[in-house]
């Protein structure tokens, strides 16, 4: 069994974000990028757990992004993936979830895969659309928000588990398949220093995005973004908290109710 994990490099959650002068995107100048999307780390952990538990042949990592996205792939290799492929985009190239999915599908066609895993969504745009679209472009079934999966090789079936609010669902379906993974039972592993060193020597292939143009052009939507951002705004700054002074719990509740009804107008 071969697993392909798709990862995305995202801005560090602690970095200060600004809107670009175009008003349609984030200004990436001076933005620190994290090594990896948190949800992807959880997904990679699940892939590595399966490799160890079921003796899979390989875990390969794939990303679409600018040259700096190599660091996200190196981090995935340091966690324990075997090889990596970067579909390298030139600076300023615009992507949307569906175009990204087409590029991933075109690159994945040349990488052995029985299971293709994506994180539930990326921390930055939170679109959560790549997994389903990737299934469509690869012609594979896709399953979303899976927390744990067990492949039954003989029947080519996956036994999957996912949490629902207040419950849990166990279901099955055929593979090869694309799965979006929700954080499972185990925290993502910290890469060991020896693995960090090894990751620098593991194979990492870079494919210029232009090389995929012919393959992507024949897919529905073609070699361009399907959707376009028309405006982009940051959330309004939070106003300061209002402190209520009180002597008794009853007084606190009365004052709070008054504020919620008359000022916040939420009741």
């Amino acid at each position: 069994m071969d697993v392909l994990v798709c990862v995305k490099q995202v801005p560090d959650p602690e970095t200060k974000l600004r809107v670009a002068p175009s008003g349609k995107a984030l200004d990436t100048d001076g933005v620190k990028f994290t090594i990896n999307n948190t949800y992807d780390e959880a997904m990679v952990e699940e892939a590595l757990r399966m490799k160890e538990e079921f003796g899979f042949t390989s875990v390969r990592a794939l990303s679409v992004g600018p040259a700096r996205a190599e660091e996200a792939l190196r981090a995935t290799l340091a966690m324990g993936a075997d090889e990596a492929v970067l579909v390298e985009t030139p600076p300023g190239m615009e992507l949307d979830p569906l175009f990204t999915a087409r590029l991933l599908a075109a690159a994945a066609a040349d990488i052995p895969h029985d299971l293709v895993l994506v994180g539930r969504h990326a921390q930055d745009d939170e679109a959560g659309a790549v997994g389903s679209a990737l299934g469509e472009y690869l012609g594979l079934p896709s399953y979303s928000f899976v927390t744990e999966l067990t492949p039954v090789a003989a029947s080519h079936q996956l036994k999957m588990r996912r949490y629902l609010e207040g419950g849990e669902e166990v279901f099955s379906g055929p593979f090869p398949a694309v799965l979006s993974i929700l954080k499972g039972a185990k925290d993502p592993r910290t890469p060991t220093l020896p693995n960090i060193l090894k990751a620098r020597k593991k194979p990492l292939k870079k494919i210029p995005v232009k090389d995929l143009e012919a393959k992507v052009s024949v897919l529905k939507g073609g070699f361009q973004p399907t959707s376009a951002v028309t405006s982009f705004t940051l959330p309004p700054p939070r106003s300061g908290a209002k402190m209520l002074e009180f002597q008794t719990p009853e007084e606190a509740a009365t004052k709070l109710l008054k504020v919620l009804k008359e000022e916040a107008k939420v009741l």
């Binding site: 340091a78 890469p191 060991t192 220093l193 620098r200």
Partner: protein
Amino acid sequence: MDFELSPVEKDLREAVKGFARRELAAVAEKMDREEYFPSEVFRQAGSLGFLGASLPEENGGSGLGYLAQAVVLEELARVSPAFALTVGAHSNLCADNLARNGTPEQRKRYVAPLASGEKIGALGLTEPESGSDALSLRTKAEKRGNHYVLNGSKLFITNGPVADILLVYAKTDPARGSRGISAFIVEKEYAGFSVSRKLDKMGMRGSPTGELSLENVEVPAENLVGKENEGAKVVMSGLNVERAVLSAIPVGITEECLSLSLDYARQRRQFGAPIGSFQLIQEKLANMYAQALSSRLLLYHALDSVTRDKRRNRDASTALTYVSEASTRVALDAIQIFGGNGYMRDYPVERLMRDAKLLEIGAGTSEIRRLVVARELLGSLE
């Protein structure tokens, strides 16, 4: 000049940061309040390779430079300076010293279990009567057949109460003063070795410190490190590396105090505005940043200096003197910015301040380090 870390050092920083914020942060307060030593977290750090970053690959390390070890200590110190101190004493004072000065057999037997965290290391130099005047130590080692018999006591020994392997200095020829010192590997199981007391400290409380007693401890002759009576060389070169690498701990404390203060100055509102909008707070923050930046540059410079020449004293001593004093000042400023909250144990800044003070005293006091610098600059005075 390139002040960038290498890709491997950057990845190492991220890995240690994640580990520290996840595993160590959960026990940092408990370590301080209950003098708790998190042996499980220590073993985890070992299995992740963080204890052996600079140790030779053939002894279970990763063969990186001292900068890698400093990166580990800085990220650990941001969360728990006490844990960083324990790791510093273990990885640098004990394991690195053994890796540099030990025989191949000694390295094979002792460095590998230290690199993996299976065993805990310590260094025994200071004694009740020899602190700043370190080479006046009184612990004696007498050669008897295939053994040396050690007698004496060691004080303020970081990791002493939990160490399995100790590098201990003793006089093999007391008449020759500092030219009669030798270094020995002592295992805690050796008969006559004991921890006479665990010490109750102002800060660094999660890093166990002790007084050790050596009563007729028979140490096999093959545990002599370096040549007999040439221990002073081991002490002095070890001290330079120790001062350079341990400088990363105050650098971590300073960075953390600055970062916590910036967050607080943005969030805390008084007179209808964030306190960060007040010029007296801004002045503090700018001064803290200047000290954080100077500290980092001195650290990197000292690491480079001892990598080139372990006998050069001035750069490591200057670095640790400056960065430790800066970390205490910056931690006090952080408490001031936090105001009443800063004085409370609910916030980490008062703990960081108590921890910071130690490195003005340990690894040679600031006063001794200044003497070392001035004497080396002046050369011989006739």
